[in-house]
């Protein structure tokens, strides 16, 4: 049981290993806080859609499977979007356009297709949580590197009077701006993935 | 030198060093006590041994009979006793069975006299003689000459082109042959013409042999033989028949096709001489001219050598070699093979023996390919050597084949030019070998 949950963290990490959901992984990761917000949104949508797909899998006809799934997903996304905008406007502000993008996050449909479609509600929930958390971890990792290198800061959630921004002295005066742009995002993604490859193969070698 | 003919694409100009031997007259080499006569001296199936250990044999006697359509007879170069039948490595790194002959004491080579009786023979009979004499192409490919001269039905040989290019650096055996045996060569040409029935006979000679151009022109005129002498611009590998045909006639032999597809038959001058000797003198092919040269030889020269002579014995004739040569090469420096065993025998295809010093071989350390494109621009076959090599390097033989690996003729231009010192030709060979192996399994 626990495996359904834990596999998403590293072994089948949606971003680094399955290479899904790449656009948000790169698009929102110029700041750590965005990564966190995006991750939260994705976890919610993944949970909702995995539950509903698992529930409805027998009801939905094969031929319209994907349209049906995506409608379910889109509903959850729209709900997240509307609720967030209405009740936590500050978070909505900082995530901006990335919330509707959750719809097209390949991870979500991918999980609906590959997992919830074949499993019961309980395991689907675990899968969703695992994948969602794995996704969030990946985003945060990317965002940390990008923000530190590209802006010299780490932006977290503001608490009280603290604005949530940690500034790295020196770096923040003249950061390597490219890392906050598209090019840097792709580079960071590549190297992180390579790092994970290297670490996992090394581990496999050691456990032998 | 403008206006001289040559082939159009690729090619290189390696340092020549022909002057080491091209003034040296051909001398007859001493015949050693023991000769090793391999059965696989030609392209195609190795000959079948027809003698056994202990047999007494005579000079010129058949010791290996052709084992198929593309195969050639092998004759004893001396009189003596068969010591054993064994396996030896040839210069090309392959194994072949060989007849080891102990020369009889006091052996004196027979004198042959010229006869004109061939003039009354039919082309077919002449081809038979060529076949029975074990004549193969001496230009390097050692293709059985009788097969080549049998123009297939429906084809017509417009051109008989004599390959006197000798584009390989160092070598001068063909050059000397023309200077010393012009008359015999013209007679040989008459014989071949009778078999092949060409409309025109041309001889291609590179411009670095002006004396040969001169002498062939004069001799043909003197003997009233219609021979077009074509001086060619200096460029390696002009001696390759495809390039030669392109240079002389402007025609391109189609990929995978034979010269006859564009109406040509190409023969090396040495082959012409061998045909002359076989037909007019009745002497099978067991002797050839070998250039022994290179900066590592004390007295380089050209030697009329019996097939089966161990290389070490030839080297003695040149006064020995320097202490630590970089390589000993059989054949020309571009296409030849390096050997490790100096007792490797001379075969019909051995055109030269080179003792190279480090300075000459000029090999540096290998680096990664720079994509400089030199290999592409020098490849006379219009191939992309680096691409093929990379496929071979990644064991992707199918892709290498799709990139025309089989069109590569291993001329070596690419590897010669490559600044990264990549053994491109070896890669091509390996690729072909593995592709064949894969096909079989």
């Amino acid at each position: 049981m626990f495996k359904e949950f834990s596999k998403g963290l590293i072994k089948e990490n949606p971003v680094f290993v399955l290479a899904l959901g790449l656009c948000p992984a790169l698009g929102v990761t110029s700041k750590v806080v965005n990564a966190l917000g995006m991750g939260a949104g994705v976890i919610f949508v993944l949970l909702g859609s995995n539950i509903f797909v698992a529930l409805l899998k027998n009801f939905i006809p094969e031929k319209v499977r994907i349209p049906a799934y995506i409608v379910i997903i889109a509903s959850f996304v729209t709900i997240v979007e509307m609720v967030m905008e209405a009740f936590i406007p500050s978070l909505y502000e900082s995530l901006g356009v990335f919330v509707p993008l959750i719809v097209v996050n390949c991870v979500i449909l991918g999980r609906a297709e590959a997992f919830a479609n074949k499993n019961n509600v309980g395991t689907s929930i675990l899968d969703a949580l695992g994948m969602g958390i794995g996704f969030t971890l990946a985003l945060v990792a990317i965002a940390l590197v990008r923000e530190i290198l590209g802006a010299g800061t780490v932006t977290l959630i503001p608490v009280g009077s603290w604005d949530g921004i940690i500034t790295i002295p020196g770096l923040s005066q003249s950061p390597a701006r490219v890392f906050s742009l598209a090019a840097g995002a792709l580079l960071v993604m590549g190297y992180l993935q390579a790092l994970i490859n290297w670490a996992t193969t090394k581990k496999a070698g050691e456990s032998k | 030198m403008k206006g001289l003919k040559t082939f159009s694409r690729g090619g290189i100009h390696p340092h020549g060093r022909k002057n080491l031997t091209n003034k040296k007259e051909i001398v007859t080499a001493d015949i050693p006590e023991t000769l090793i006569v391999p059965m696989a001296q030609h392209l195609g199936a190795p000959a079948e041994v027809v003698v056994a250990a202990g047999d007494e044999i005579k000079e010129g006697m058949l010791i290996g009979k052709p084992a198929g359509f593309i195969s050639a007879a092998v004759h004893s170069p001396v009189s003596g006793t068969v010591k054993e039948i064994t396996d030896v490595y040839l210069a090309n790194g392959m194994k072949s069975s060989a007849v080891v002959i102990e020369k009889e004491e006091g052996f004196i080579p027979a004198e042959k006299t010229k006869s004109d009786s061939w003039k009354s023979k039919t082309p077919q009979e002449l081809i038979e003689i060529v076949k029975d004499s074990g004549v193969v192409g001496l230009g390097g490919a050692t293709f059985p000459a009788n097969v080549k001269y049998m123009v297939p039905k429906g084809e017509k040989a417009e051109y008989l082109i004599i390959n006197a290019v000798e584009c390989e650096p160092y070598l001068s055996a063909d050059h000397r042959l023309m200077l010393e045996k012009a008359s015999e060569l013209i007679e040989g040409l008459r014989i071949i013409s009778k078999m092949v029935e060409p409309e025109k006979v041309a001889i291609g000679i590179e411009i670095n042999k002006p004396d040969a151009i001169e002498i062939m022109r004069k001799q043909a005129e003197a003997e009233n033989f219609d021979l077009e002498v074509v001086p060619l611009k200096l460029k390696y590998p002009q001696g390759d028949e495809k390039q030669l045909i392109k240079a002389v006639t402007g025609r391109e032999v189609p990929s995978g096709g034979l010269p006859i597809a564009v109406g040509c038959v190409v023969s090396n001058v040495g082959t012409v001489n061998a045909v002359y000797e076989a037909v007019a003198l009745g002497k099978p092919l067991y002797e050839r001219t070998v250039s022994v040269t290179g900066l590592g030889v004390k007295n380089p020269g050209n030697f009329l050598t019996r097939v089966g002579t161990p290389i070490s014995s030839l080297l003695e004739a040149c006064g020995g070699i320097i202490d630590n040569p970089a390589k000993v090469v059989v054949g020309g420096p571009m296409m030849g093979f390096s050997i490790y065993d100096l007792d490797t025998p001379v075969t019909k295809g051995t055109s030269g023996i080179l003792i190279l010093t480090d300075e000459e071989s000029g090999s540096g350390s290998r680096t990664a390919c720079l994509s400089c494109g030199r290999c592409v621009s020098v490849c006379p076959m219009g191939l992309n050597p680096t691409k093929m090599f990379k496929f071979v390097d990644h064991d992707d033989y199918d892709s290498a084949m799709q990139n025309n690996l089989m069109d590569c003729k291993e001329c070596g231009c690419c590897a010669y030019a490559c600044p990264a010192n990549i053994p491109l030709v070896q890669g091509m060979r390996l690729g072909k070998k593995m592709a064949r192996k894969k096909k079989v399994s």
Binding site: A74, E81, P100, C106, M189, W198, T201 | K387
Partner: protein, 196 residues
């Protein structure tokens, strides 16, 4: 904006892959060789252009008149999903080899952000029907350009000895990063100067 402007914008300046972070999954997944990259590129171009047009119709004939724009996401994606599935069935029938090459990525066009992206962008930019269509094609062509270039590079890298942990997708990302670096030459100022 003129049509030329739209084309330049979406092919070069706002190239979906190299500047907008949209459509990366198929970009990484289907760029291993040129043939399938070309196939994928055209499939995406086709879907994007039709999707831009279809969603324009939904927006202007259904959502706006009924004042239910909050359903944009769900209706657009529904339309796109249906379209993609249609294309998928069509390709499967008409060109099994292409279908095989595109494999699991065809269904993923549904979730290719680029398709929804162009639909939303076209609507937000107030494009008319033809402009939406042109924007769709151009964005698709931008994707095609990027993925074909990427696949040619990856084919080349296939015959090099790329360090082991970097093989596969990591090197593709890094390649994409360097491409994006170069594509920063195409900025909005360039567009403004070119078409005034």
């Amino acid at each position: 904006m003129t049509y030329v402007g739209i084309i330049i914008t979406f092919v070069f300046i706002n190239n979906f892959i190299l500047a907008q972070f949209m459509g990366l999954c198929p970009f990484i997944g289907v760029s291993k060789n040129v043939e399938s990259a070309v196939g994928m590129g055209f499939a995406v171009t086709f879907v994007m252009s039709i999707a831009a047009l279809a969603t324009w119709a939904i927006q202007n004939f259904i959502l706006v008149p009924l004042n239910i724009e909050f359903l944009q996401t769900i209706t657009f994606i529904l339309m796109i999903a249906a379209l993609v599935q249609f294309v998928e069935m069509f390709i499967q029938k008409s060109s099994p080899s292409l279908y095989k090459a595109l494999g699991i990525y065809l269904p993923l066009i549904t979730t290719n952000c680029a398709v929804l992206g162009i639909a939303l962008i076209a609507v937000r930019s107030d494009y008319n029907a033809l402009e939406s269509f042109v924007a769709g094609i151009s964005a698709g062509l931008g994707f095609l350009l990027a993925i074909v270039l990427m696949s040619a590079i990856r084919e080349k890298l296939d015959s090099e000895w790329v360090p082991e942990p970097l093989k596969g997708t990591p090197i593709a990302f890094i390649t994409g990063g360097l491409m994006a670096l170069a594509f920063m030459a195409f900025d909005k100022a360039l567009l403004n100067n070119l078409i005034g």
